[in-house]
Symmetry: D2
Subunit: 366 residues, 4 copies
């Protein structure tokens, strides 16, 4: 299947940037879980465009649940969530019907869909489609929290400015990130990062960055040795988030330059509970969770919509031309993308847990 | 499914390091493709342990095809390939039945399989299982070559020594790598890399590295916008290869520090054929191929089997203990892993092409 | 996945009988296919409750397409179709929150969803959910017709009254069925069938029947020898339609009493085109289409909602009780179910064709 | 995927009638289950050709387990079982390289595989491939028995002679069937059935029949409302068994002629345990098990290999010709097919249980 992900817990997303509605169908989540519409709205707000560092397009992003919830709880059947598009300015996109924006999917969409794709605002390729993922993910994040599993993402770097990494106080850090409008661990890096974004915007340009995600409280023994390793299923989901071009678990690329004696995490036991003294492996060994925090970092490329003139092709006859993009665009998406990472990871982990422990597990009280 | 991957073209792998046989079932490959047993043997030889830089375990790795090939050609039905294990020294592994080797899957396997896993030599988690993947991949690589699609991987770094990247002469570079016993583009880095491996071995330690893979000739318009993006399906497969902890496409993490104006690849046309002037995106935009070379890099962690004493737990009662690994181990696997990368990627791409263009496409003459 | 079906072309359905909306997401259908909203409305009308032989609940069943269609054509991305519920009388269902209706899914839903299911009107188990399937199927039926493939279903029996079977004039018969409000081949059996339904209704009872489906023009060579045989994938879909309890292909159960010499269909050739002289196998041999019409018959059990007093259990404490159902119900569903069969089969066949010939095939002009 | 079935517990089958080996990979079965090689051999013996009522081809069918079993127990990783072909007479098949046997898959295989299929003895379409299914199924049947779930199939009809149906003494009947070499409930019908088979054989012809399968002890609440209904997943598997052309659950086609008041099964409770007074629904309501025995019947067409002259086409140029089949063939397969039904159903049910209750459930002691 194409726009669906997951096996026991699955999500299907739909919609286009300038269509009538976008949304998601979340299926297989255990029956009897509280659906907290306020929390969903809160999560949606974390993805919203605000201030000068985001696009001028402002969407209410009100999530309407039209199936799968009864008396405020999940029923176990498909939860359909729809979000109306309200602030489309489709007239901005005339020339973009045939001129491929560099760095965007316009050309590849044309090669796949033969010109029948909805090109307005990137259509089905738009980052806007992640709103459905965030809505579905909000239910997954809440369900995991009920089981003592916390997920959080911070902006590790933006425009070359770096945040510090997660500390031993992980659970509290994750809780704090959940309420932050610009998710960094070291608040002093926020202003310099925003400066970088503003500078890029003023220059008609854009910046990228890195996100770091941590999962606290995930049980050991979940994942598979081959093909459906925990890294594999997470990466499958994460590399489908627009702009993600790199992913590493634990020390990731840093491990390539280590010796085995540096990279191996020693096991230690306290009261029969096993932990590792370091966490170079990011909580996953042999594709299976070891009970330590799951840690991964993603590379987010700079937004491809820039206002500088660019060289491209006219897809009507595949000849050279130039393009100057107008309209409303994000000079950076990294601050909006972090909640997408949390949501995407939560959906994957719910699926893995349901496969491992059965479809009711997420709703069972410990 | 767990040990199976792919949809239209799929592979299932099985076996344990010290079991009777390992192997693979390759299903869905188009009927009528020549099966070149010499090429399969050649590919197997690229994965073999040789010299001082690999384990002393020496396996013939003779692939026996027991189904799915008739009169030297694929039939379209499952191709089963079995490889007998011959050089197991299971007695070396006594203590490892209950002491978890740091960096290995012993502890996580225990938490998943409750002690019933075959622990000998890592069992089903062993890198040895990749031999089945290489056997299946050999058929996929050959099928792709018939369609003008070439895949090659080189050792970008090993123990901190770096090779150069692929050049514009990509197709020829890939062909040359196919015959190399230590796959580097710049032959002068080979000796320093091997020195690093030998030094680690002499020190009872191990080294990691980076692999860089290129796919030449892959058609535009293949992949999906969501969930089954080309990056997603490749990453799903690649993160299931043991020791892979990082993956990036195109400029990957480097894109995080670029501006949009630097990262975007300009489109240009010559005679109606579109290309990009740079290839920061690694041949994939919006999850779909753009016809440029697909480029990705993987981080390979150092082999966790080292001879130094390590701290770990006794899994019989989860108490602290120490462990000194004996037996035969690889001080580095990066030179053996590169053919695994080629094989894994080829299987994914065959699947994607069959899904896009139909089950016969791979066997059709252009 | 649970409420999704298909691989290359897939459908996801959602909603409850008394919820806000029901609908479907149709994904993977080739780009560039005309979406004929009038035809969709026509297909929906064939499923509508009309006259005395159906429930008194009357729904407009207006299908609103909110994604995946642009300029009147499919884009290749998910087509989301929503239908608002308008004529729910939820107050009719008070006692049914805890008393299991015999023949319905109330008890099994309770055992699966632990009481959190939406019980109103059968919730997600309601036959009403097939409206989404019919909406999605309308696009599939139209796409198949463009390729010369016609699907039609008639009421082979109802309340013990039998229609004749399809004749050699199959294509025309299918076309005629498409416009019929009570789909029989022999018009003289219509009145006696309706009499049986009316008699059952007057008696507070219900009747079942048989449907016979034919597919004309389906190409040879589609299907798989194992697991995904054409019978297998069709049956998977068809046995998920509520009330279906039997399915046979070709002469089906009749073949059990034949000799091989009677059952085998002789092959004959005319101008290089192969056909069989008889079609006992229903167009499928070894799981693969042979180019002859695909024929299958389904058994539809009588509607379980009857007005007679029945013995059942109170699910609050699992004790014996009695139940007399009130509210609005269908004394027969067979005349409404036939378009569901057409729709379901069309979705399966589109998926099979896309897997076999590629994702663009359905939109290509012959 | 094509030759694989199942999600949490899956099976992949491979091989050809006259190839080197056939076999199966069983994946996802819980770790720690005893593997009883004697029971596997016993199950294989139930499928073997014996006496005059089966083919003269005699295979030892010795199952060799080459992975996934350690110290006599399942490890949780893929169990690969291989069976060598020993009694092939490939020379018998000369003419069959190009003449399509009526009722067989030769023509459809040709249309799918373009002549590259292994045609010898039906190749990958041969009923012989079910030997792998029986080997894998033996492990599944034993695992279910450990959980109190029993599966049995009897010959309900053969050549027009009928056995009685299952009685209330179901569990004991299933146990008795397990040791029978010709599985009927009423022993007096055995001789007349065998007479019918012998008579057909003497006439160069063949007979078909019906199988009836019962599952005792299956828990309530397993299955899905849509697409993966219990009937759907069972039918998907069962319709891939060669020669199956019909399938009905509970009273099946008989329900089509009933009134709702006759067809509905009343619920009754004893000590809080709910049962139904009748079992017209065959243990499944709304796609989900209700705790009653699961009952289904399959139609097995007569073996298509007959010795009478038949009309067919020469596939080299698609012209008319005649064919007289020589070689060794089964005049009936129904007595050999029943263990295939048990095996196939057991694999499906293990998968459903693992999806519902988690991957360890099958190995847990109650």
């Amino acid at each position: 299947m194409k726009n669906s992900f997951g096996s026991s817990v699955s999500v299907t997303i739909f919609g286009e940037s300038h269509g009538a509605m976008i949304g998601a169908v979340l299926d297989g989540i255990a029956p009897g879980i509280d659906v907290d519409e306020e929390f969903i709205a809160h999560q949606m707000s974390l993805r919203k465009a605000v201030g000068s560092i985001s696009t001028a397009r402002r969407e209410a992003d009100q999530v309407k649940i039209v199936s799968g919830v009864f008396n405020g709880k999940t029923t176990g059947t498909p939860i359909t969530m729809i979000i109306e598009n309200q602030d489309q300015h489709s007239k901005d996109y005339g020339e973009l019907a045939y001129k491929a924006r560099p760095g965007h999917a316009d050309y590849t969409a044309f090669m796949k869909y033969h010109g029948f794709q909805d090109f307005r605002g990137g259509g089905h390729f738009s980052g806007r489609i992640t709103a459905g993922l965030v809505a579905a993910g909000a239910i997954a994040i809440k369900a995991l929290k009920n089981k003592g599993i916390y997920i959080g993402t911070h902006i590790l770097s933006c425009g070359g400015v770096f945040d510090r990494s997660f500390s031993a106080d992980l659970k509290n850090e994750i809780v704090r990130l959940g309420d932050s409008d610009f998710a960094v661990l070291d608040e002093t890096v926020k202003a310099p990062m925003i400066e970088k974004i503003d500078a890029a915007r003023n220059d008609g340009d854009s910046v990228g960055g890195r996100l770091e995600t941590a999962v606290y409280g995930f049980p050991a023994g979940v994942g598979e040795p081959w093909f459906d390793t925990l890294e594999s299923v997470l990466s499958h989901m994460i590399f489908s988030i627009p702009a993600v071009k790199g992913l590493e678990f634990g020390d990731g690329f840093g491990l390539a330059d280590m010796k085995g004696s540096q990279a191996n995490d020693s096991f230690r036991s306290s009261d029969g509970n096993v932990h590792t003294e370091t966490n170079h492996s990011g909580g996953i060994l042999g594709g299976i969770s070891n009970g330590m925090p799951i840690i991964f970092r993603t590379a987010i490329k700079p937004t491809p919509s820039i206002y500088k003139e660019q060289q491209t092709v006219d897809m009507r006859d595949m000849t050279d031309t130039t393009l100057q993009i107008k309209g409303r665009h994000d000079p950076a998406i990294i601050h909006r993308a972090r909640v997408v990472l949390d949501s995407a990871a939560a959906l994957v982990l719910c699926d893995q847990l349901a496969l491992r422990f059965g479809t009711d597990w997420l709703a069972e009280t410990n």
